[in-house]
Amino acid sequence: MQSAQKSTTSPLKRLALHSTTTCSSQATAYGKCIVATYTDVRKDCCKHEFEKFGQCLRAAVCLQTRGHHASPLTHRR
Protein backbone atom coordinates (compact mmCIF):
# COMPACT_ATOMS: atom_id res chain seq x y z
CA MET A 1 0.00 0.00 0.00
CA GLN A 2 2.69 2.38 1.03
CA SER A 3 4.97 1.53 -1.86
CA ALA A 4 2.07 1.93 -4.27
CA GLN A 5 1.40 5.36 -2.84
CA LYS A 6 5.04 6.26 -3.16
CA SER A 7 5.17 5.29 -6.79
CA THR A 8 2.08 7.27 -7.73
CA THR A 9 2.96 10.51 -5.91
CA SER A 10 6.39 12.06 -6.21
CA PRO A 11 7.95 13.84 -3.22
CA LEU A 12 7.25 17.15 -4.91
CA LYS A 13 3.58 16.26 -5.40
CA ARG A 14 3.29 15.41 -1.71
CA LEU A 15 4.93 18.69 -0.77
CA ALA A 16 2.50 20.48 -3.07
CA LEU A 17 -0.47 18.73 -1.50
CA HIS A 18 0.56 19.38 2.09
CA SER A 19 1.62 22.97 1.57
CA THR A 20 -1.73 23.90 0.08
CA THR A 21 -4.18 21.71 2.02
CA THR A 22 -2.89 20.07 5.20
CA CYS A 23 -0.85 23.06 6.34
CA SER A 24 -2.91 25.81 4.72
CA SER A 25 -3.46 27.76 7.95
CA GLN A 26 0.29 27.91 8.68
CA ALA A 27 0.91 28.80 5.03
CA THR A 28 -1.59 31.65 5.30
CA ALA A 29 0.05 32.92 8.50
CA TYR A 30 3.45 32.88 6.81
CA GLY A 31 2.09 34.54 3.65
CA LYS A 32 0.40 37.25 5.70
CA CYS A 33 3.67 37.95 7.53
CA ILE A 34 5.53 38.40 4.23
CA VAL A 35 2.79 40.51 2.67
CA ALA A 36 2.76 42.76 5.75
CA THR A 37 6.47 43.53 5.26
CA TYR A 38 6.86 42.90 1.55
CA THR A 39 8.35 46.30 0.72
CA ASP A 40 11.20 45.56 3.13
CA VAL A 41 11.80 41.81 3.18
CA ARG A 42 15.12 40.56 4.55
CA LYS A 43 16.51 37.15 5.31
CA ASP A 44 14.59 35.35 8.04
CA CYS A 45 12.20 38.24 8.60
CA CYS A 46 9.37 35.71 8.90
CA LYS A 47 11.49 32.94 10.34
CA HIS A 48 9.12 32.23 13.22
CA GLU A 49 6.10 31.81 10.93
CA PHE A 50 8.06 29.69 8.48
CA GLU A 51 9.29 27.36 11.22
CA LYS A 52 5.70 26.59 12.14
CA PHE A 53 4.84 26.04 8.48
CA GLY A 54 7.90 23.83 7.99
CA GLN A 55 7.17 21.78 11.10
CA CYS A 56 3.66 21.14 9.90
CA LEU A 57 4.95 20.10 6.46
CA ARG A 58 7.53 17.73 7.93
CA ALA A 59 4.96 16.19 10.24
CA ALA A 60 2.45 15.74 7.41
CA VAL A 61 4.99 14.28 5.01
CA CYS A 62 6.47 11.95 7.66
CA LEU A 63 3.03 10.71 8.63
CA GLN A 64 2.40 9.74 5.05
CA THR A 65 5.76 8.11 4.39
CA ARG A 66 6.28 6.50 7.80
CA GLY A 67 9.26 4.16 7.63
CA HIS A 68 11.05 6.19 4.96
CA HIS A 69 14.05 8.04 6.22
CA ALA A 70 14.30 10.78 3.68
CA SER A 71 12.04 13.69 4.42
CA PRO A 72 11.11 15.44 1.19
CA LEU A 73 11.90 18.78 2.78
CA THR A 74 15.58 17.94 3.08
CA HIS A 75 15.80 15.69 0.05
CA ARG A 76 17.14 17.19 -3.15
CA ARG A 77 16.91 15.56 -6.48
Partner: protein, 329 residues
Protein backbone atom coordinates in the same frame (compact mmCIF):
# COMPACT_ATOMS: atom_id res chain seq x y z
CA UNK B 1 41.12 67.66 -8.69
CA UNK B 2 40.04 65.57 -5.77
CA UNK B 3 39.46 62.69 -8.16
CA UNK B 4 43.13 62.38 -8.96
CA UNK B 5 44.31 60.32 -5.94
CA UNK B 6 41.44 57.93 -6.49
CA UNK B 7 42.39 57.51 -10.13
CA UNK B 8 45.98 56.84 -9.18
CA UNK B 9 44.96 54.26 -6.64
CA UNK B 10 42.67 52.49 -9.07
CA UNK B 11 44.96 52.53 -12.09
CA UNK B 12 47.54 49.86 -11.09
CA UNK B 13 44.79 47.48 -10.11
CA UNK B 14 43.10 47.95 -13.49
CA UNK B 15 46.31 47.18 -15.30
CA UNK B 16 46.80 44.08 -13.23
CA UNK B 17 43.29 42.90 -14.01
CA UNK B 18 43.90 43.47 -17.70
CA UNK B 19 47.10 41.49 -17.58
CA UNK B 20 45.19 38.61 -16.07
CA UNK B 21 42.42 38.95 -18.58
CA UNK B 22 44.78 38.75 -21.54
CA UNK B 23 46.32 35.56 -20.22
CA UNK B 24 43.11 33.63 -19.62
CA UNK B 25 42.58 30.73 -22.01
CA UNK B 26 38.96 31.73 -22.62
CA UNK B 27 38.17 33.60 -25.83
CA UNK B 28 36.49 36.92 -25.41
CA UNK B 29 32.84 36.95 -26.57
CA UNK B 30 32.95 38.03 -30.19
CA UNK B 31 30.10 36.73 -32.32
CA UNK B 32 27.09 37.08 -30.04
CA UNK B 33 27.03 39.92 -27.58
CA UNK B 34 23.54 39.05 -26.45
CA UNK B 35 23.52 35.78 -24.57
CA UNK B 36 20.79 35.64 -21.99
CA UNK B 37 19.30 32.25 -22.71
CA UNK B 38 20.86 28.84 -22.96
CA UNK B 39 19.45 27.78 -26.34
CA UNK B 40 20.76 24.22 -26.10
CA UNK B 41 19.03 23.76 -22.74
CA UNK B 42 15.85 25.21 -24.18
CA UNK B 43 15.90 22.75 -27.06
CA UNK B 44 16.36 19.85 -24.63
CA UNK B 45 13.49 21.12 -22.46
CA UNK B 46 11.20 21.38 -25.48
CA UNK B 47 12.21 17.93 -26.75
CA UNK B 48 11.50 16.40 -23.36
CA UNK B 49 8.22 18.22 -22.94
CA UNK B 50 6.99 17.12 -26.37
CA UNK B 51 7.89 13.48 -25.81
CA UNK B 52 6.50 13.17 -22.26
CA UNK B 53 3.68 10.58 -22.26
CA UNK B 54 3.85 10.36 -26.06
CA UNK B 55 3.04 14.04 -26.44
CA UNK B 56 -0.16 13.90 -24.39
CA UNK B 57 1.15 16.09 -21.59
CA UNK B 58 2.24 18.87 -23.92
CA UNK B 59 -1.10 18.69 -25.77
CA UNK B 60 -3.08 19.28 -22.57
CA UNK B 61 -1.09 22.41 -21.70
CA UNK B 62 -1.45 24.12 -25.08
CA UNK B 63 -4.25 26.37 -23.83
CA UNK B 64 -2.17 29.57 -23.83
CA UNK B 65 -0.60 28.85 -27.21
CA UNK B 66 -3.95 27.95 -28.77
CA UNK B 67 -5.58 31.10 -27.44
CA UNK B 68 -2.79 33.34 -28.70
CA UNK B 69 -2.67 31.52 -32.07
CA UNK B 70 -6.41 32.18 -32.38
CA UNK B 71 -5.99 35.87 -31.69
CA UNK B 72 -3.07 36.06 -34.10
CA UNK B 73 -5.12 34.37 -36.80
CA UNK B 74 -7.72 37.17 -36.47
CA UNK B 75 -4.95 39.63 -37.32
CA UNK B 76 -3.85 37.59 -40.33
CA UNK B 77 -7.42 37.39 -41.60
CA UNK B 78 -7.61 41.19 -41.46
CA UNK B 79 -4.93 41.26 -44.14
CA UNK B 80 -6.71 40.87 -47.45
CA UNK B 81 -4.14 38.93 -49.36
CA UNK B 82 -3.59 35.31 -50.32
CA UNK B 83 -0.05 34.06 -49.81
CA UNK B 84 1.67 31.29 -51.71
CA UNK B 85 3.86 30.26 -48.79
CA UNK B 86 3.89 31.30 -45.14
CA UNK B 87 6.92 30.62 -42.92
CA UNK B 88 6.07 29.79 -39.32
CA UNK B 89 9.22 30.65 -37.38
CA UNK B 90 9.45 28.90 -34.02
CA UNK B 91 6.32 26.99 -34.89
CA UNK B 92 6.27 24.63 -31.92
CA UNK B 93 3.92 21.78 -32.81
CA UNK B 94 2.13 23.99 -35.29
CA UNK B 95 -0.54 25.52 -33.08
CA UNK B 96 -0.73 28.48 -35.49
CA UNK B 97 -0.11 26.56 -38.73
CA UNK B 98 -3.02 24.23 -37.93
CA UNK B 99 -5.40 27.18 -38.16
CA UNK B 100 -4.29 28.15 -41.68
CA UNK B 101 -6.79 27.46 -44.43
CA UNK B 102 -6.26 26.88 -48.15
CA UNK B 103 -7.91 30.19 -49.08
CA UNK B 104 -5.19 32.04 -47.14
CA UNK B 105 -2.11 30.14 -48.24
CA UNK B 106 -1.04 27.19 -50.36
CA UNK B 107 1.82 26.00 -48.17
CA UNK B 108 3.36 26.54 -44.76
CA UNK B 109 7.01 26.00 -43.75
CA UNK B 110 7.37 25.25 -40.05
CA UNK B 111 10.77 26.01 -38.50
CA UNK B 112 11.62 25.01 -34.94
CA UNK B 113 14.81 24.14 -33.11
CA UNK B 114 13.24 21.20 -31.26
CA UNK B 115 12.75 18.17 -33.50
CA UNK B 116 10.42 16.37 -31.10
CA UNK B 117 8.14 19.38 -30.87
CA UNK B 118 8.21 19.95 -34.61
CA UNK B 119 7.25 16.37 -35.50
CA UNK B 120 4.81 15.73 -32.67
CA UNK B 121 1.60 15.97 -34.69
CA UNK B 122 0.82 14.14 -37.95
CA UNK B 123 0.34 15.93 -41.29
CA UNK B 124 -3.41 15.13 -41.22
CA UNK B 125 -3.90 17.82 -38.56
CA UNK B 126 -3.00 20.51 -41.08
CA UNK B 127 -5.22 21.78 -43.87
CA UNK B 128 -2.49 23.19 -46.10
CA UNK B 129 0.65 21.70 -47.63
CA UNK B 130 3.34 21.34 -45.01
CA UNK B 131 7.12 21.38 -44.82
CA UNK B 132 8.97 20.88 -41.53
CA UNK B 133 12.48 22.24 -41.08
CA UNK B 134 14.46 21.73 -37.92
CA UNK B 135 16.69 24.75 -37.47
CA UNK B 136 17.69 27.53 -35.16
CA UNK B 137 15.36 30.54 -35.15
CA UNK B 138 18.39 32.75 -34.63
CA UNK B 139 19.91 31.54 -37.91
CA UNK B 140 17.05 32.15 -40.32
CA UNK B 141 19.30 33.30 -43.17
CA UNK B 142 21.13 29.97 -42.90
CA UNK B 143 17.84 28.17 -43.60
CA UNK B 144 16.10 30.36 -46.16
CA UNK B 145 17.61 32.54 -48.92
CA UNK B 146 17.31 36.33 -48.93
CA UNK B 147 14.33 38.00 -50.60
CA UNK B 148 12.48 34.71 -50.89
CA UNK B 149 9.36 34.80 -48.67
CA UNK B 150 6.02 36.54 -48.89
CA UNK B 151 5.11 36.20 -45.25
CA UNK B 152 6.81 35.15 -42.01
CA UNK B 153 4.83 34.58 -38.84
CA UNK B 154 6.08 33.76 -35.36
CA UNK B 155 3.79 32.73 -32.56
CA UNK B 156 5.24 32.66 -29.03
CA UNK B 157 8.82 31.71 -29.70
CA UNK B 158 10.76 34.99 -29.96
CA UNK B 159 10.89 35.36 -26.17
CA UNK B 160 13.64 32.70 -26.09
CA UNK B 161 15.74 34.39 -28.77
CA UNK B 162 19.00 35.90 -27.53
CA UNK B 163 19.62 38.37 -30.31
CA UNK B 164 16.16 39.78 -30.97
CA UNK B 165 17.32 42.80 -33.05
CA UNK B 166 19.46 40.49 -35.21
CA UNK B 167 16.67 37.98 -35.68
CA UNK B 168 14.27 40.73 -36.75
CA UNK B 169 16.82 41.96 -39.30
CA UNK B 170 17.15 38.40 -40.64
CA UNK B 171 13.38 38.14 -40.92
CA UNK B 172 13.27 41.37 -42.94
CA UNK B 173 16.13 40.18 -45.14
CA UNK B 174 14.38 36.87 -45.83
CA UNK B 175 11.19 38.64 -46.90
CA UNK B 176 10.51 39.83 -50.44
CA UNK B 177 9.75 43.55 -50.81
CA UNK B 178 6.26 44.26 -49.43
CA UNK B 179 6.48 41.01 -47.45
CA UNK B 180 4.62 40.62 -44.17
CA UNK B 181 5.94 39.86 -40.71
CA UNK B 182 3.31 38.99 -38.14
CA UNK B 183 4.43 38.00 -34.67
CA UNK B 184 3.31 37.37 -31.13
CA UNK B 185 5.65 37.09 -28.17
CA UNK B 186 5.47 37.15 -24.38
CA UNK B 187 6.10 40.60 -22.98
CA UNK B 188 7.35 42.20 -19.79
CA UNK B 189 4.50 41.52 -17.39
CA UNK B 190 4.31 37.82 -18.14
CA UNK B 191 4.27 35.71 -14.97
CA UNK B 192 4.95 38.72 -12.74
CA UNK B 193 3.08 36.99 -9.92
CA UNK B 194 5.40 33.98 -10.01
CA UNK B 195 8.43 36.20 -10.35
CA UNK B 196 7.55 38.28 -7.27
CA UNK B 197 6.51 35.28 -5.14
CA UNK B 198 9.78 33.45 -5.84
CA UNK B 199 11.85 36.57 -5.20
CA UNK B 200 10.19 37.27 -1.85
CA UNK B 201 10.51 33.63 -0.80
CA UNK B 202 14.19 33.50 -1.75
CA UNK B 203 14.99 36.72 0.09
CA UNK B 204 13.28 35.56 3.26
CA UNK B 205 14.51 31.96 3.21
CA UNK B 206 17.93 32.21 1.60
CA UNK B 207 18.83 35.89 1.74
CA UNK B 208 19.39 36.43 -1.98
CA UNK B 209 17.69 36.11 -5.33
CA UNK B 210 18.43 34.28 -8.55
CA UNK B 211 16.57 34.61 -11.85
CA UNK B 212 13.78 32.06 -12.30
CA UNK B 213 11.51 33.96 -14.69
CA UNK B 214 13.08 35.28 -17.91
CA UNK B 215 13.65 38.94 -18.56
CA UNK B 216 11.15 39.90 -21.25
CA UNK B 217 10.82 42.61 -23.86
CA UNK B 218 8.83 45.70 -23.05
CA UNK B 219 6.00 46.78 -25.35
CA UNK B 220 7.47 50.20 -26.04
CA UNK B 221 10.81 48.65 -27.04
CA UNK B 222 9.12 46.45 -29.59
CA UNK B 223 8.10 49.18 -32.03
CA UNK B 224 11.59 50.69 -31.75
CA UNK B 225 13.16 47.32 -32.50
CA UNK B 226 10.88 46.73 -35.49
CA UNK B 227 11.66 50.21 -36.80
CA UNK B 228 15.36 49.70 -36.31
CA UNK B 229 15.21 46.38 -38.15
CA UNK B 230 13.82 48.28 -41.16
CA UNK B 231 10.12 47.38 -41.11
CA UNK B 232 7.49 49.92 -42.11
CA UNK B 233 3.77 50.39 -41.48
CA UNK B 234 4.14 49.04 -37.95
CA UNK B 235 1.31 47.91 -35.74
CA UNK B 236 2.15 46.86 -32.19
CA UNK B 237 -0.43 46.10 -29.53
CA UNK B 238 -0.62 44.11 -26.33
CA UNK B 239 -3.10 41.77 -24.83
CA UNK B 240 -3.28 39.70 -21.69
CA UNK B 241 -4.25 36.10 -21.17
CA UNK B 242 -5.02 35.38 -17.52
CA UNK B 243 -5.21 31.78 -16.45
CA UNK B 244 -6.42 30.50 -13.08
CA UNK B 245 -4.65 27.63 -11.34
CA UNK B 246 -5.44 25.75 -8.11
CA UNK B 247 -2.00 26.66 -6.75
CA UNK B 248 1.55 27.60 -7.75
CA UNK B 249 2.50 23.92 -8.06
CA UNK B 250 0.14 23.27 -10.96
CA UNK B 251 1.39 26.41 -12.70
CA UNK B 252 5.01 25.27 -12.42
CA UNK B 253 4.18 21.79 -13.65
CA UNK B 254 2.25 23.11 -16.63
CA UNK B 255 5.10 25.47 -17.54
CA UNK B 256 7.43 22.50 -17.52
CA UNK B 257 5.09 20.52 -19.77
CA UNK B 258 4.91 23.50 -22.13
CA UNK B 259 8.70 23.39 -22.42
CA UNK B 260 8.79 26.87 -20.91
CA UNK B 261 11.09 26.08 -18.00
CA UNK B 262 13.88 28.38 -16.91
CA UNK B 263 16.69 28.57 -19.49
CA UNK B 264 18.59 31.65 -18.39
CA UNK B 265 22.37 31.36 -18.71
CA UNK B 266 23.89 30.82 -15.26
CA UNK B 267 20.61 29.84 -13.62
CA UNK B 268 20.53 27.76 -10.45
CA UNK B 269 19.52 24.25 -11.33
CA UNK B 270 17.39 23.59 -8.31
CA UNK B 271 15.08 25.39 -5.96
CA UNK B 272 15.20 24.38 -2.33
CA UNK B 273 11.96 22.84 -1.18
CA UNK B 274 11.67 25.29 1.72
CA UNK B 275 11.83 28.13 -0.81
CA UNK B 276 9.23 26.50 -3.03
CA UNK B 277 6.83 25.95 -0.13
CA UNK B 278 7.37 29.55 0.99
CA UNK B 279 6.78 30.85 -2.54
CA UNK B 280 3.55 28.90 -2.78
CA UNK B 281 2.29 30.47 0.47
CA UNK B 282 3.33 33.98 -0.65
CA UNK B 283 1.78 33.58 -4.13
CA UNK B 284 -1.50 32.61 -2.50
CA UNK B 285 -1.50 35.54 -0.06
CA UNK B 286 -0.15 38.23 -2.38
CA UNK B 287 -1.99 37.44 -5.61
CA UNK B 288 -4.56 34.75 -4.78
CA UNK B 289 -8.21 35.01 -5.82
CA UNK B 290 -11.03 34.97 -3.28
CA UNK B 291 -12.02 31.42 -4.20
CA UNK B 292 -8.57 30.10 -3.25
CA UNK B 293 -7.20 29.79 -6.79
CA UNK B 294 -4.29 31.80 -8.11
CA UNK B 295 -4.03 33.83 -11.34
CA UNK B 296 -1.12 33.77 -13.78
CA UNK B 297 -0.81 36.58 -16.31
CA UNK B 298 0.62 36.05 -19.76
CA UNK B 299 1.18 39.38 -21.50
CA UNK B 300 1.37 39.02 -25.25
CA UNK B 301 2.80 41.59 -27.67
CA UNK B 302 1.39 41.35 -31.20
CA UNK B 303 3.35 42.98 -33.95
CA UNK B 304 2.88 43.55 -37.66
CA UNK B 305 5.56 44.98 -39.91
CA UNK B 306 6.15 45.13 -43.66
CA UNK B 307 9.33 45.08 -45.66
CA UNK B 308 9.60 48.42 -47.47
CA UNK B 309 8.66 48.50 -51.15
CA UNK B 310 8.10 51.34 -53.65
CA UNK B 311 4.55 50.09 -54.24
CA UNK B 312 3.48 50.65 -50.64
CA UNK B 313 1.32 53.67 -49.74
CA UNK B 314 3.42 56.48 -48.35
CA UNK B 315 2.66 59.79 -46.66
CA UNK B 316 2.59 62.75 -49.05
CA UNK B 317 5.30 65.37 -49.16
CA UNK B 318 5.12 67.85 -46.29
CA UNK B 319 3.26 70.98 -47.28
CA UNK B 320 1.69 69.43 -50.39
CA UNK B 321 -1.86 69.38 -48.98
CA UNK B 322 -4.56 71.15 -51.06
CA UNK B 323 -7.15 71.51 -48.31
CA UNK B 324 -6.61 73.22 -44.99
CA UNK B 325 -7.13 71.02 -41.99
CA UNK B 326 -8.79 74.01 -40.32
CA UNK B 327 -11.70 73.83 -42.80
CA UNK B 328 -12.22 70.13 -42.22
CA UNK B 329 -12.25 70.28 -38.44
Amino acid sequence: MSLLPVARRVAPRCNLARAFASKTPFAAPTASVYRVFDRAAKRTQKDRAASRDGGERSRTVEYVRDEVADRMMERLLDIKRRFDTIVDLGSGSGHFSKLLEPDKTRKVIMIDSSGQTLNRDPDDDFEVQLERVQGDEEDLLGILPRNSQEAIVSCLSLHWVNDLPGTLVQIRETLKPDGLFLGAMFGGDTLFELRSALQLAEVDREGGISPHVSPMTDTKDMSNLLGRAGFTLLTVDTDEVRVGYPSMWELIEDLKDMGEGNAIVGRRHFLHRDTLAAASAIYQELHGNKDGSIPATFQVIYMIGWKPSPTQPKPLERGSAQTSLKDVL
